[in-house]
């Protein structure tokens, strides 16, 4: 791999991580002013802002590394659906609070394992971004995990809804751990973390919490994938419309 090809690939990799964070930030932000309690409203707002911060640094780096010179705003607001590289898990609608917590918990557990390895990346920028994000996602995992435990081990109704939440998100979990040419090539030069490596540690943490919560690990019959290639679910277009319409209606507008 020559240097230009390598830089482009690093940019593509940063774009995947950044898109994951950006889309989940947007989804989580939808809870603001709608959470069950004021305190949880602030917690989810904080968490969405953590993710947005990760997205900003990752997208900025993606635009620089791939040589296109695109800014974070160019990447967030002026790409179309097929150019987004996020996994489908993060674009799922929020559903009820249990679905939101199920998604957040699994995704934060994945991000925790990812970033705790990416801090050793041969790419210094990715390593630094990971080091900052690691503390944030450790709290996300803890917070969502606490709710999964409470709701799973709570009333009959909270247990039923938490289990239903897990059932909703589970068909999207395997996509997190899919390797492809990009991740294999970058993992070989110790820049990226091979997603397949993350499956065992992520799921063992998740399973321990599910056990405490008296919840069953779902066994879905279908699996969704394709986000890394720009294949997204129906909901993605609506999400992007809300995310992008202001910037596209007023190009170049500033606060």
């Amino acid at each position: 791999m020559n240097d230009v090809a390598l830089d482009t690939r690093v940019g593509d990799y940063a774009l995947r991580l950044g898109d994951d964070a950006l889309i989940l930030a947007q989804r989580t932000g939808e809870w603001i002013a709608a959470a069950p309690e004021l305190e949880e409203d602030l917690a989810l707002g904080n968490l969405a802002l953590d993710l947005l911060g990760q997205a900003r640094t990752l997208l900025t780096y993606a635009g620089r590394a791939d040589g296109s010179g695109r800014s974070e705003d160019d990447l967030a607001y002026f790409r179309d659906e097929r150019d987004f590289r996020n996994c489908q898990l993060v674009e799922l609608p929020n559903g009820d609070f249990a679905v939101t917590m199920a998604r957040l918990f699994v995704f934060a557990a994945y991000q925790y394992e990812l970033y705790s390895r990416l801090v050793d990346s041969a790419d210094e920028t990715l390593a630094a971004i990971a080091a900052k994000a690691l503390k944030e996602v450790a709290y996300h995992r803890d917070h969502a995990g606490a709710w999964v435990r409470r709701l799973g081990d709570g009333t009959d109704e909270s247990h039923r809804r938490m289990q239903a939440g897990l059932d909703t998100v589970w068909p999207y979990v395997d996509e997190l751990f899919e390797s492809d040419d990009l991740t294999r090539a970058l993992a070989a030069v110790e820049i990226a973390v091979d997603p397949a490596e993350l499956a065992d540690p992520t799921l063992s943490h998740v399973r321990a919490v599910l056990h405490d919560a008296t919840l069953d690990e779902p066994e879905p019959t279908n699996r969704h994938t394709g986000g890394r290639r720009g294949i997204h679910s129906e909901q993605m277009g609506y999400l992007l419309a809300e995310l992008q319409h202001l910037a596209r209606s007023h190009p170049g507008a500033q606060w």
């Binding site: 959470a35 069950p36 309690e37 004021l38 305190e39 949880e40 602030l42 917690a43 904080n46 009820d96 609070f97 917070h143 606490a146 435990r149 409470r150 709701l151 081990d153 709570g154 009333t155 109704e157 909270s158 809804r161």
Partner: protein
């Protein structure tokens, strides 16, 4: 955790009434009140910063982190159930505090404080 069995928690306190009426329950009444104390940095005392609602101590600490330390305000948090605090009554204000007013010798104003000493 027994406290999570509170039926008010089932859907975050925003459920319709038990008979499915359109009157929302008052969410705030379902969780007890906690008072929050934050220590800004080592060497200072914990200072009362406000209150919040939470079903138990673990969640109260978590909520306090999110509500009161978002801008790096602290290095340590205490949460205390509000109903565990014994407070002096406003009616007793005169008997409690007025007798101290004219006893100037109780104030450490007769000492010279060297410059540069903080947090005295």
């Amino acid at each position: 955790m027994s406290s999570t069995r509170d039926p008010q928690l089932r859907d975050g306190g925003r459920s319709d009434g038990p008979e499915g009426s359109l009157q929302p329950t008052i969410a705030a009444s379902s969780w007890p009140l906690w008072e929050v104390f934050v220590r800004a940095r080592r060497g200072l005392s914990h200072v009362h910063v406000g209150s919040l609602h939470a079903p138990d101590a673990a969640m109260a600490l978590r909520n306090a982190r999110d509500v009161y330390t978002r801008r790096g305000e602290g290095v340590s948090i205490w949460v205390i159930p509000a109903d565990q605090i014994a407070a002096s009554s406003p009616d007793e204000k005169d008997a409690f505090f007025d007798p101290a007013d004219d006893k100037v010798y109780r104030h450490p104003t007769f000492y010279h404080v060297p410059e540069g000493v903080e947090h005295l």
